[in-house]
């Protein structure tokens, strides 16, 4: 079974007698718990068919509809959502700072690799604005640091160098061999300094130039380097600065990059939508409120707008929420449609963060949960598609 608790989609997870095996703390909580609420229209409980009918009518009447999220939906739901968006001329925005880098990766404008390749070959691993110990708890043990791999047989102490670059010394940084502290909002200056250091020039920078030169030396010696780019990096650094750094690193060694995001199927929806026409996502974990204000109907699918962007509370658009759990947005949405959770109560497929297609069999069996009776978001999307 695969866990959809994060974009690692660990495939060795099992549920026996109500106990989850092999999953981390986040995966276990994700599989065993559901904060589900009833279907609602105008914050009053209704039948799910009524909720879907209302949502369909709102979407059909909307002049500038916008779909947000889909990163926590199976690929089949995403395809149906894209068809619905095409039918009613809606924009789709996955609402993540990662979509820009994912686009560069899927269009091969920057070198990437798979997670098994990280395990087998990586000798220098950088966690940039990323703290997988708190967000992707099995990344270090499964792929990025601790396991032995084909060309890394001597264990992490000898074979791998982990480096953290972050605004704070995170838990992940505390186990890395070196840590470079970023001044908040000044990541790009660090990148510029590092590029100069890679060219053997002493960088004139606000950062300790000796330390930057030492880091450049380590990176140049890498046989197979990997950068895990986290949300805190992508929220502050423009994509072109990352590409400049990657080009420079690849002048001297073999460097790859992977985007480290949370939503289990973000890569698939980011690749399926044209982000040039979507709302720009310059804000970490959220959307640009100015662009959102142009919409008159927002459909949030597995995405909690009010949590990511509390300022969106004042947006004068009608809101439809489709989500397996109660969200902050469902607290004031015009229509709320609860659904089954992909990979847990509902089978499907998803794309792992490195692009691998993963089958998601339904983890819960009959009798283990009442969730199997819940309608899937795919079914909801298909019914909306039919009705509009």
């Amino acid at each position: 079974m695969a866990c959809t608790g994060c974009a690692l989609l660990c495939e060795d997870v099992e549920v026996q007698d109500g106990e989850v095996r092999h999953a981390c703390r986040i995966g276990t909580a994700h599989i065993l718990n559901r904060q589900q609420i009833d279907p609602m229209v105008d914050q009053k409980v209704v039948d799910i068919d009524d909720a879907i009918r209302h949502a369909a009518a709102m979407l059909a009447d909307a002049e500038r509809p916008m779909f947000l999220g889909f990163g926590n939906s199976i690929t089949e739901t995403q395809s149906s959502g894209v068809r619905l968006a095409e039918k009613i001329c809606a924009g789709i925005d996955p609402c993540s700072v990662h979509t820009g880098l994912i686009n560069e990766i899927v269009h091969s404008r920057v070198r990437t690799c798979t997670l098994p390749e990280v395990r087998d070959h990586a000798d220098v691993i950088m966690f940039w604005g990323a703290d997988p110990m708190n967000t992707h708890p099995r990344l270090l043990s499964g792929y990025a640091y601790y396991p032995r791999g084909k060309n890394r047989q001597h264990g992490w102490e000898e074979d791998r160098t982990a480096i953290a670059i972050d605004v704070r010394r995170s838990h992940t940084a505390s186990i890395c061999k070196s840590f470079h502290k970023i001044i908040p909002g000044r990541d790009t200056e660090f990148i510029d300094g590092l590029i100069l250091a890679l060219r053997n020039k002493v960088p004139k920078t606000v950062y300790d130039s000796k330390k930057v030169l030492k880091l450049a030396g380590t990176l140049k010696k890498a046989e197979f380097g990997v950068i895990f780019a986290g949300s805190e990096m992508l929220g502050s650094v423009p994509c072109d600065a990352i590409i400049r750094l990657m080009d420079e690193l690849n002048e001297f060694s073999d460097f790859r990059i992977l985007s480290l995001y949370h939503q289990y199927n973000l890569r698939s929806i980011a690749a399926a939508t044209n982000t040039d026409t979507a709302v720009s996502c310059e804000r970490p974990g959220g959307c640009d409120p100015t662009r959102l204000r142009e919409a008159d109907c927002l459909l949030c699918v597995g995405f909690d707008l009010a949590n990511s962007l509390p300022q969106a509370r004042d947006i004068d658009a009608s809101i439809i929420v489709i989500d397996p759990n109660e969200t902050l947005t469902s607290g004031y949405a015009d229509v709320v449609i609860p659904c089954a959770s992909g990979g847990v109560d509902l089978a499907g497929t998803a794309m792992r963060m490195d692009g691998a297609e993963i089958d998601l069999p339904c983890i819960m069996k009959n009798g283990q949960t009442d969730a199997l009776t819940r309608m899937s978001d795919l079914n909801i999307m298909d019914r909306l598609l039919e009705a509009v």
Binding site: R25, I26, A29, H30, N33, Q35, D131, M133, N134, T135, P137, V167, R168, R169, S170, H171, A173, S174, K181, P184, G185, E232, G235, S236, E282, R283, P284, G285, G286, D304, A306, N307, S308, L309, P310, Q311, R313, N325, E326, T327, L328, G331, Y332
Partner: protein, 134 residues
């Protein structure tokens, strides 16, 4: 007759703080287990980790409510002193920079890193319902 304290009438000292967000596995777990409206989630989210020097600047102690505001919004959260030996978030000074878990309490202040003004507060910690007005 109760004693009148002059400092009651003085504005609480204020300082500039740069807000940086972080992720906390226990907070994510609390959201999944108990929901985002739960006390468990609030206790792990409505906090700011502060350098002892910043706590001193605003005359606050560990656990005191602090008001943080900027052009995007205002929030009251619990101040936490970051000086514990086993706290990796605090193993070095970070005066002028406050660490908040990623949640609506930090997001209300806009896209981090973002600067804000901070002072000790007599108000209660903001609840999620107050922040999103439901």
């Amino acid at each position: 007759m109760s004693e009148i304290r002059i400092d009651q009438f003085l504005a609480a000292p204020e300082c500039e703080i740069m807000i940086v967000r972080y992720h906390d596995i226990f907070q994510t777990e609390a959201a999944l287990k108990h929901g985002k409206f739960s006390k468990e989630y609030q206790d792990l989210s409505a906090v700011i980790m502060l350098d002892p020097a910043d706590l001193k600047k605003i005359d606050a102690s560990d656990g005191d409510p602090v008001k943080i505001s900027n052009e995007y919004g205002t929030v009251v959260v619990a101040a936490k002193k970051s000086d514990g030996e086993d706290d990796t978030r605090a193993s070095e000074g970070h005066s002028g920079v406050g660490y908040m878990p990623a949640s609506v309490w930090s997001n209300i202040l806009g896209s981090a890193p973002v600067s804000a003004k901070m002072s000790r507060s007599q108000q209660k910690i903001s609840t999620i319902r107050e922040l999103i007005r439901v």
